[in-house]
């Protein structure tokens, strides 16, 4: 345990709070979010694995500031919380920004075809 472990966990809580208490996009209740997230976390393994490999690392961590658990390969487990939080936040902000654009351009009902066409025009 250390500052990275703590802040990584806090980041996930903060991102979930932003979605559930504030922006409420509803994205966490969709298939596309969870499927996309599974794919993103899958690709995190080779990319993050390359950045953190202990034999020849690009990014270095102070082992005292984390659990020290590294898997798979040499990826600190904290990185998965970091990545989950960051990509979830991006998706929440993206969907929210899309809704706002739609509302501003006058398709407040957001229903079906008109909503999508508005999005495509933007």
């Amino acid at each position: 345990m250390g500052i990275y472990t703590l802040t990584a966990l806090v980041s996930v809580v903060v991102v979930l709070a932003i979605e559930l208490l504030w922006l409420r996009t509803g994205i966490l209740r969709t298939w596309r979010y969870w499927l996309a997230m599974a794919i993103v976390m899958g690709f995190q393994v080779p990319v993050d694995g390359w950045l953190t490999k202990l034999s020849d690392p690009l990014v270095l961590y102070n082992e005292a500031d984390m659990t020290g658990v590294r898997a798979p390969w040499d990826i600190p487990v904290e990185d998965f919380a970091f990545g989950f939080g960051m990509v979830t936040l991006a998706m929440v902000l993206w969907v929210h920004a899309g809704r706002r654009e739609e509302r501003r351009s006058g398709t407040g009902d957001g229903a079906g075809d008109s909503g999508r066409r508005q999005e495509q025009r933007a």
Partner: protein, 139 residues
């Protein structure tokens, strides 16, 4: 090449996700204003976190594998690139998965494969697309 290795990894991430935009109609790169609005607060927040962790000595970066270009507060250029590239890869994945699910729904509804495939690179297609405004519910 060595000193650009981190940037090369980021470039590969963009390259490998480009078909999501071009073939699966993700329409993330084609909505730059929305992308900027969504990304700005994220890049700011994660840069602050990064800067704090660097200052605390928790995170550091290989001098051989990074360009050595430092932004204000000693943040490596590569970290800023990371906070832009990785979330965008996530958004491309989200939109592409949504479009594929929409296409599968149209196929199940009996639409011809050719038409569904033709619409895919342009996004959800002409049918009302549930992913666009009202999120599709988990069954």
């Amino acid at each position: 090449m060595e000193r650009g290795e981190y940037l090369v990894v980021m470039g590969l991430c963009l390259l490998i996700t480009l078909p999501l935009e071009l073939l699966l109609g993700a329409r993330v790169w084609r909505r730059p204003r929305r992308l900027l609005v969504a990304m700005a607060p994220l890049v700011l927040a994660y840069s602050i976190w990064d800067i704090a962790m660097i200052a605390a000595g928790s995170w550091s970066y290989s001098e051989e594998k990074l360009t050595g270009i430092l932004l204000p507060f000693e943040m490596p250029l590569e970290e800023l690139v990371f906070f832009i590239v990785v979330p965008i890869c996530g958004l491309l994945t989200l939109e592409a998965v949504g479009n594929v699910l929409t296409a599968l729904g149209r196929l199940r509804a009996g639409e011809p494969l050719g038409r569904v495939l033709r619409d895919l690179p342009h996004g959800g297609g002409p049918r009302p697309a549930p992913s666009a405004s009202t999120e599709e519910k988990v069954a």
